[in-house]
């Protein structure tokens, strides 16, 4: 049997690996699959109708994504800068976020001048477009005045650098992918957390105005887990060749500065903790390659906190994952990461879509893998603590994508992106020549192949088709979190470095006070529609534990319904009773009888009992009393006890109605019927 270390890339590629480990099982989140099986799904895909941007990317924008007149990709007065808000975002919320971001927006306005644009309100992005579906770039462009033409960017209409502000449910990942083909796009998604927006804005301005000038240190953190081919591939064919490439001179894309580029001491979590502990320990550029943590959609809280967290060295294939094995947002502590730009090669490293783009080939529909699309907690927290941008993968990341079918390392996109970053280019520009171009190339070729396969089933082999499809999708799904116009703030000259302080710089009290008032006004989080995840199971292959869980939850669903229904009826009944009592409360009747046959008394029949005393107490307190008498006069004993009964009845009615009303109110509060 061939050991993993002895396998050739082509042998490894016979099965498709994705870099994700299920935190609840310790197994791959998606099992390796054969090319044949995978190809069967790809062949069923439709070809997008509008390929204008993609073809433009292959043509005039191939070598340089900006108009030829724009020589400096950092000169915002030439490239322009825009921010896009969701059209559906409430005015109050949007204005509060803009206030929190104001230092950044003001700085971009000053730099971009006439090429500064804000797309908001009617010109913002519509997640429910005219067709009822999320807008594509084409839909969005057509709606603008004047209409924005696809293809080579007309910067006066839509600047090159575009910051999207909102969650993937408000501005879809698909829109970000499409817009990114011809522009440099980034995203900020802090929900309603104004403090996070304000900190990010303050950090960007601080980094761009000399508060840090970081030493030129780039660190490559590579994990290789025991028995795991996925990290074997990423370590051997991504990280090491990438580092080696960057350390070598390249005439076509030379590094303009000497960088100290090193491999991290190990792939252990302690080493990653050190690298992200802030201050001098944190490099200017951090590249990681590892599995990303994956959690099931029925555990959304954990997904939001830990999906995409970086799985480190200690885990071995198929072993249970312990919390100590991976690095998540909460592990950052109070580290000051000011100026850092990081690149995570990991499944779900920066985000998770609602639906799985990589269904099992036998599945009829796309599986729902999260309650809704979201950005990962770790990069978001890093942006909050000073990092300027985090590049990474939405959805699953594929090992296939940096190795070509011919056993060659094909990491050009990574090389190009990192070389640009190390030369101080903005992060939105850095991803363009590599990933965006690759995406455009692959998509056009893939679509061409898919069209031809309809008439000639043997036009392309399964392996080739899979290679194209995965590489295409992989390139598409690399996105930037953060402002796309930021670049690494490194010291260009020896001896001029300005290191980070140990702790992040706090927001000025006056800003905190202002934001607190705005925060109180807009609430802690935006309301997000939550749909209970209907987890499709590939090929109907339901695991026993899943089936058990389904039954348990079904059982509970019934109980929930029973209790809620019963309480609702009960509460209605009490409300009705209280209403009736209120109507009937005008008179309280207290009757006292004497009878030899108490047992003969029935509900509506006093039998042969003699009415001996009757008191009618009116609502206004008037009392009419019929006094019991004997031949000797008033029956004092009976009269005495009757009077006591009257008093008891009066007290009881008040207390009972009061207790009933309170109970009804408490029940209604509890089951939220009000």
């Amino acid at each position: 049997m061939t050991e993993p270390d002895e396998k050739l890339p082509s042998e490894l590629l016979k099965e498709i690996y994705v870099n994700g480990v299920d935190g609840t099982t310790g197994h791959y989140s998606l099992p390796p699959m054969s090319s044949e099986l995978w190809a069967s799904t790809i062949k069923g895909e439709s070809v997008p109708a509008d390929q204008t941007d993609l073809k433009a990317k292959q043509g005039p924008a191939r070598a340089y994504p900006l108009p030829a007149s724009v020589k400096d990709n950092k000169d915002l007065s030439k490239t322009g800068w825009a921010v896009v808000f969701p059209a559906e975002m409430a005015d109050k919320r949007r204005e509060a976020i803009k206030e929190a971001l104001s230092p950044l927006l003001q700085r971009r306005l000053e730099k971009a001048g006439d090429l500064y644009r804000v797309f908001e309100g009617e010109s913002g992005y519509r997640v429910r477009g005219e067709t009822g579906r999320p807008e594509s770039t084409r839909d969005f462009f057509k709606r603008q005045t004047p209409e924005i033409k696809p293809g080579m960017p007309k910067l006066a209409q839509m600047p090159y650098y575009v910051l999207l502000v909102g969650s993937p449910e408000e501005i879809t990942y698909e829109f970000q992918y499409q817009l990114d083909v011809m522009r440099g796009v980034g995203r900020l998604d802090f929900g309603n957390d104004l403090d996070a927006y304000a900190r990010y804005a303050q950090n960007v301005v601080a980094a761009e105005t000399g508060m840090v000038k970081l030493p030129r240190q780039g660190t490559f953190f590579s994990v290789r887990n025991l028995g795991d081919d996925a990290t074997l591939i990423s370590d051997r064919y991504l990280v090491r060749p990438l580092l080696s490439n960057l350390q070598q001179p390249d005439d076509e894309s030379p590094l303009q500065f000497d960088w100290n580029l090193t491999l991290a001491a190990s792939g252990a979590r302690a080493e990653l903790e050190r690298l992200l502990s802030g201050g001098k320990q944190t490099p200017a550029l951090l590249f990681t390659a590892s599995h990303g943590m994956v959690f099931p959609p029925d555990d959304p809280q954990r997904q939001f906190r830990e999906q995409g967290a970086l799985l480190c060295q200690n885990w071995a294939k198929d072993m249970p994952v312990s919390r100590d094995d991976y690095f998540a947002a909460e592990d950052l502590g109070n580290a000051n990461l000011l100026g850092l730009i990081a690149f995570f090669f990991a499944c779900f490293g920066v985000g998770t879509p609602k639906y799985d783009y990589f269904n099992h080939p036998k599945a009829k529909t796309r599986n729902q893998i999260a309650p809704y699309g979201f950005t990962s907690a770790l990069p978001k927290q890093m942006l909050r603590q000073g990092a300027l941008a985090v590049l990474g993968h939405v959805d699953r990341a594929w090992g296939h994508s940096f190795i070509s079918a011919g056993d060659n390392v094909a990491n050009e996109a990574f090389v190009a992106a990192l070389r640009h970053l190390l030369n101080g280019d903005p992060v939105g520009f850095a991803t363009d020549p590599g990933f965006n171009l690759k995406y455009a190339d692959m998509t056009v070729v893939l679509n061409d192949n898919l069209e031809k396969l309809r008439s000639d089933p043997n036009y392309v082999s399964d392996e080739e088709l899979v290679a194209l499809w995965t590489a295409n999708n992989d390139a598409r799904s690399y996105v930037v979190l953060g402002d796309p116009a930021v670049s690494i703030p490194f010291a260009t000259d020896e001896g001029t470095a300005v290191e980070r302080t140990a702790a992040p710089v706090a927001l000025p009290p006056v800003i905190v006070e202002k934001l607190s008032a705005l925060q109180a006004d807009i609430g802690p989080e935006p309301t997000a529609a939550y749909t209970a995840p209907a987890v499709a199971t590939p090929g109907g292959d339901i695991k026993v534990d899943e089936a058990h869980k389904a039954l348990v939850n079904q059982d509970f669903a019934i109980q929930i319904n029973e209790i809620t229904d019963s309480l609702r009826k009960f509460a209605s009944k009490i409300a009705e009773a209280i209403g009736n009592i209120t109507q009937d409360i005008l008179t309280l009747e207290v009757r006292t009888y004497a009878t030899d046959n108490v047992k003969g008394v029935t509900l509506n029949n006093a039998g042969d009992a003699n009415l001996r005393a009757l008191t009618l107490v009116d609502f206004d307190g008037d009392m009419r009393t019929y006094v019991p008498t004997t031949t000797e006069g008033v029956d004092e004993d009976l009269w005495q006890i009757h009077r006591e009964m009257v008093r008891e009845a009066q007290i009881n009615r008040t207390q009972f109605i009061s207790a009933m009303a309170k109970m009804a109110s408490d029940l209604l509060d509890t089951i939220k019927l009000k």
């Binding site: 312990s322 006890i641 408490d666």
Partner: protein, 280 residues
């Protein structure tokens, strides 16, 4: 030994005993004098000791009401300590649990509450709008009621809650009959209509003491009815407190916390009553 029986027909079909420990279910063959409505019956051997017995039950009810308030306070205090607590391991049953510190007096009750609440973890959550609330409990266990005893505990609390609701329903919609039986003979019957009207039927020629026995019995019945309503309020309020903590339950599932609250409240009351019994 003289036989004192305090029975309430509302407990007959229920699986729950009187949380105040005053009344019990009647024997299956025991028929109420007045078949319609709910019957609260005090069956006593004689007038003298009967009055003492009723007054003793009244005291017992008062103590029960004090226990109810104490249980309510315990639940509120416990809720103050309920916080999200990450569990060390990922591969297993629970990713997050309620962290309810052990208390000196009510550890079993708090443990039961924690176990029951933890069992709700698998029900999913509407996470986003509530995740930012401080002190909110993060549910996240992949398996519901991984421990069978937790599941049974919830089922028991669930049945108890349904029975209790049934009792309170009857209480608020039916008339109550307070019967006083001395040495096998019904000496007094008071029918309390749902709107508060009273009708009292006396056996002629009763002594003043006999009449006082019945009057005290009626008082006990009236106090018991109100106490049950107050218990329902406390449980609903307690469940509301749990809901505030467990904000990530799926829509509708808040009602599941009512059984958790009733279990805690009644168990603490039982514990207090047991403690009281040991002090005698």
């Amino acid at each position: 030994m003289a036989d004192y029986r305090f029975t309430f027909s509302g407990f007959a079909a229920a699986e729950a005993p009187d949380p105040f420990g005053v009344w019990e279910a009647p024997a299956p063959d025991e028929k109420a004098v007045s078949a319609a409505g709910l019957t609260w019956r005090a069956a006593l051997p004689d007038v003298d000791s009967g009055l003492d017995a009723i007054l003793a039950r009244t005291k017992s009810l008062e103590r029960g009401e004090a226990y109810l308030l104490q249980a309510d306070a315990e639940l509120r205090a416990t809720l103050e300590t309920v916080m999200p607590a990450p569990v060390d391991r990922v591969a297993g049953t629970a990713s997050y649990a309620f962290s309810v510190p052990a208390a000196e007096n009510f550890h079993p009750q708090k443990q039961a509450l924690r176990d029951t609440l933890s069992g709700f973890a698998a029900l999913g959550a509407p996470p986003r709008q509530v995740a930012a609330l401080e002190g909110a409990v993060a549910f996240g266990a992949p398996d519901a009621f991984a421990e069978e005893k937790e599941r049974k505990g919830f089922q028991e609390a669930y049945r108890r809650w349904l029975a209790f609701v049934e009792q309170v329903k009857q209480l608020t919609s039916s008339s109550s009959n307070a019967e006083t039986i001395i040495a096998g003979e019904c000496i007094g019957l008071t029918r309390i209509a749902w709107d508060g009207d009273f009708e009292t039927f006396w056996l002629p020629g009763l002594s003043a003491l006999s009449r006082e026995v019945h009057r005290q019995n009626v008082n006990l019945v009236l106090a018991s009815r109100i106490a049950l309503l107050r218990a329902a309020s406390v449980i609903a309020t307690g469940a509301g407190g749990l809901i505030f903590k467990a904000v990530v339950l799926p829509p509708g599932a808040q009602a599941l916390l009512l059984p958790a609250a009733i279990r805690f409240i009644f168990d603490v009351m039982d514990a207090l009553r047991d403690w009281e019994a040991t002090q005698r």
